[in-house]
Subunit: 362 residues, 2 copies
Amino acid sequence: MERRYLILAPHVFATRAAKTAHGVIAYSTDVTVGVVDPANAGRTVRDVLPHLDCDAPIVASVAAGLAFKPTSLLIGIAPAGGALPPEFRLEIAAALRAGLEIVSGLHTILGDDAEFAELAKAHDSRIWDLRLPPAAPLFSGAAYDIEATIVLTVGSDCAVGKMTASLELARAAQERGARAVFVPTGQTGIAIAGWGTSVDRVVADFAPGAAEQLVLEAERRAGDTGDGASGPAPLLLVEGQGAINHPAYAPVTLSLLYGCAPDALVLVHIPSRKAIEGYDIPLLGYRELIRTYEALCAGVKPARVVAVALNTRDLTEVAARAAIADAAAQTGLPCDDVVRFGPFALYDAIAPELAKTAVLHA
Amino acid sequence: MERRYLILAPHVFATRAAKTAHGVIAYSTDVTVGVVDPANAGRTVRDVLPHLDCDAPIVASVAAGLAFKPTSLLIGIAPAGGALPPEFRLEIAAALRAGLEIVSGLHTILGDDAEFAELAKAHDSRIWDLRLPPAAPLFSGAAYDIEATIVLTVGSDCAVGKMTASLELARAAQERGARAVFVPTGQTGIAIAGWGTSVDRVVADFAPGAAEQLVLEAERRAGDTGDGASGPAPLLLVEGQGAINHPAYAPVTLSLLYGCAPDALVLVHIPSRKAIEGYDIPLLGYRELIRTYEALCAGVKPARVVAVALNTRDLTEVAARAAIADAAAQTGLPCDDVVRFGPFALYDAIAPELAKTAVLHA
């Protein structure tokens, strides 16, 4: 279905807490017709966050947003722990009463909520819990036989831009004529791409198996593009999660690092970030991150970090270029901000390396 | 309750597939009154596995085992993926009809099975699914403030003896007068200790949080020993899981490595094992394992490997002593087989190092 999103992000739309809202506005092919945030009511998305390039109005309530004929209410936040903020309940109920579909990436499964389930039934609307995973098998090793070149983004922390880097590199690859597929591994990626599994929601024993199923599915999708399947191997750009020294989320990071069996890694970092968000743990430096990710891969299936993607949104352009030069000098790798300066320079810099990996497979 | 176990392990009791059976027989304070295994019916546990030091008879069926007045049927296997073998159904149903409690560590939740649930209700028996975890919060960092010295076993693979090493070291520490608590993190450990959480069954995002809750609970238990809580800090001996380069289970390994916030690690290995069981992946060597585990801890909360515990059951005594000498030479660490030669030498070798860690806390 083609969705028209009203996005619920009260009092946080302008902040990183509304990560899901920002990702869907920037990358979904579904249109956002309005945002619910009383703190910014009367302004537009562009007024608040110009880089999202979106003129949807911001309103104070779901009731006010109905004027823009949404089909769906998207829960626009991605809080640590993923619980439903109690103050969201009335607005979700109002949306269900108006017949809107609810799209949620929270750990709280809204379809299991008695009140919401009853309202959805009574008003013939539905609840799409993005995070509810399918049953996953144990990791089998089938991912090692995939012919596509698998590129996973790995980070220095949560919420640094791994999904965005994977999306931008997939876009660049497609525009350069490659059969490239973005592989969603979290709730925002699933909302954007319309498929995928939130690997962080899978039972720990089966999380690498769920990651493996995603790259197997992506390879099928890459083969279904109808271009005759000749030419170079497809490219799977897997959305990474967490960071290897994140005390809560590193097991999910590792589930992707092993389960997706990547051929190459792209390291993603925000230069202004110094500590793991919410914990008193310093970020690892570039060389330490590269050493750690590559050492872990070496024990299972070797993969090298081939590029660094920086998120420089909170820097001036001069500072951004300096940060990129610094990362390149420290790592000896191609380095860029794929949002600020576009993904093509970085993609073109790593494409020959990725093609070599594909030849190794053949 | 005091249990009298009949253990179901048809056709596999003598093999490592019956890991749960062997662990409970060796370490539970509950008594095993019989084992169901048609392949060895008529013999005793001692005939088949002398090291378990148990004279319980082996019988062909649950019906035959009822003669020994069991209170509970323990599912004695721990297969990869944890599914219920269909051929177990009739025997489980027979046990429920006889009023036995069912104790199971499978991923398949037997209490959710309609037939079993109905039989349990009809015959006033109960089903204890060891693997069903409590709701776990996100990792909070509270584990960093624990005063006890936390020792985690880490391995080169699954099923090498991490639980056994933790149990034996806890026993040695207790006999030396320390306030030591074994911390169960998997189904067999839970069956033995009567509490704990199977961390591999927790949703990936919350697995480190579940591990953290276990050490917090263990610290409370250590404080409740009634000895006035004077003297040195308690010792928590946490059962490890998996291995850091296990493609399916490493996320659980990492959940414990970060979530339990260990002060020290004990590396556990079977010298005869060369590859990860079930996968075409070589085991890492001693120095690589130590480097990898210590490097990961260094990024979160530093911890050193202080000893190596070898499982030499399948070696001659001469070969075992050679393997121990080799591990000691390669690592420069105290090294022993804590089952074959008892845990006291290894415990006494590391006790001063653990005491230093405790002083650092104070």
